[in-house]
Amino acid sequence: MALFLYGTATNTGKGFFTAEDRRNFFLRGYTGHDGSNLIDVWVVGYTEKGAVWLAEASGTEQTKAEAQALVRAADTIARTAWDNNDVDGESSAEKVTRLGDKPGFITIP
């Protein structure tokens, strides 16, 4: 049996997920990219309450592979942006100070 649902849904802010939601089912958010725009990707506990939450969030269900691809696309863009974000005369250590470490690739559960 699957442990998780995967989907995309725009985080609308306050109330998008509640403390009760968090106690009721597993929920983890990631930044994805659909080729045009950044998109919020959600991994949701595979329960009735989790499925209802994704539906009421006007979410679009994805397969795990599709969700992972969206996250990988965002990671790639973030890593490229990090690589291209240079300041003349800046050392690599200084760049880490300014931007933080180069983003890694995230593997969703």
Binding site: G13, K14, T97, G100
Partner: protein, 330 residues
């Protein structure tokens, strides 16, 4: 329930009416109908989104009256101030520090309340020693930190604040041990951390000049060392459960919350950990992992976290609420 006395060495109290949930936390009683207790129920929930994605703003205030000051990217944040009312963020008046580098307000830290806050240090490529006080409407330049600092922590109220750790802000950006006391108008030297560090976590707005906490951070490598400050000196205490840096933080020396940050460079964790003044314990995870540069505020029971990497215009609110429960044998 006859086993209760054998287990605990005392009888269950009879109370004609239930006490307030907060007062009854950890106790067991009988009210003539039910056996009851009070437990803390905790979780992170979504808060209002910021107008733009960003990071490295200085945060202070409470979960329902917070301030985000400065940050990056310069266009969306720069010298800008945003206030949070528990539901949404609204723009306030800009910080007053002189421009020059577009990053002059980034990587600083803040403390205090929405109507009596302060923000100190930060800046890139060279850190500054600038300090500003906030009154809920306007920023006012205040006395500068005795030395330039980036990546340190501002802790405590505006009139009895403490700034500790960080770096000189100029290459090679060596991590530092120094603490400075702030009275809202002037600075004096404080005790030295045992482990020099920057990008650490600590007590924040509810910390004080005589009871502060510092944990994790870069030395430059990541550390799990934890220290407590008594107003004069720092002492090592129980290590943070993971080596980490850029961890979010809220609360005090005896009731603190640590969340997310980097455990592995480049990959943010969602882990949340509580500290009771003696030991660390696991708490409910955040929904999204982030890298924090002090974009956090509130207490250990009502924390606020925003920006950072991940879903980076999003906000999360942590709430720990004492709740009455009926005890059953199932």
């Amino acid at each position: 329930m006859t086993a209760y006395k054998a287990l605990k060495g005392k009888k269950i109290k009879f109370l004609a009416s239930d006490p307030p949930a907060a007062a009854g936390e950890g106790q067991v009683w009988y009210n003539g109908i039910d056996y009851k207790t009070s437990v803390k129920v905790e979780a992170w929930a979504a808060g209002g989104n910021l107008p733009a994605a960003g990071q490295s703003a200085a945060g202070f205030g409470t979960q329902t009256a917070a301030v985000s000051a400065g940050g990056t990217p310069p266009g969306s944040f720069g010298l800008k101030t945003f206030e949070y009312d528990g539901s949404s963020w609204t723009a306030g008046n800009n910080m007053v520090r002189a421009t020059g580098s577009p990053y002059t307000s980034a990587y600083g830290s803040g403390s205090g309340t929405l109507t009596a806050g302060w923000a100190a240090g930060g800046g890139y490529p060279t850190a500054n020693n600038l300090v500003e006080n906030y009154d809920g409407t306007n920023w006012t330049a205040s006395a500068v930190i005795p030395a330039t600092r980036g990546g340190g922590i501002s802790n405590g109220p505006q009139t009895a604040g403490l700034y500790f750790g960080g770096t000189t802000g100029a290459p090679p950006r060596t991590a530092l041990v120094n603490s400075f006391h702030y009275d809202g108008e002037a600075w004096t030297g404080g005790g030295s951390l045992n482990t020099a560090r920057t990008n650490a976590g600590g007590s924040g707005v509810t910390g004080s000049q005589t009871a502060a906490l510092c944990f994790a951070g870069n030395t430059p490598g990541q550390t799990n060392k934890t220290e407590e400050y008594d107003g004069t000196s720092w002492s090592e205490v129980t290590n943070f459960p993971r080596t980490a840096s850029y961890v979010g933080y809220s609360g005090s020396q005896t009731d603190a919350l640590a969340f997310s940050g980097y455990t592995d460079p480049g990959n943010a964790a969602v882990t949340t950990t509580g500290y009771d003044g003696t030991s660390w314990s696991s708490r409910p995870n955040m929904a999204a992992g982030r890298l924090f540069y002090h974009s956090n505020s509130g207490t250990a029971n009502n924390a606020l976290a925003w920006s950072g990497e991940g879903l980076s215009n999003s906000t999360e609110e942590f709430s720990g609420t004492a709740t009455l429960k009926v005890i059953t044998d199932s």
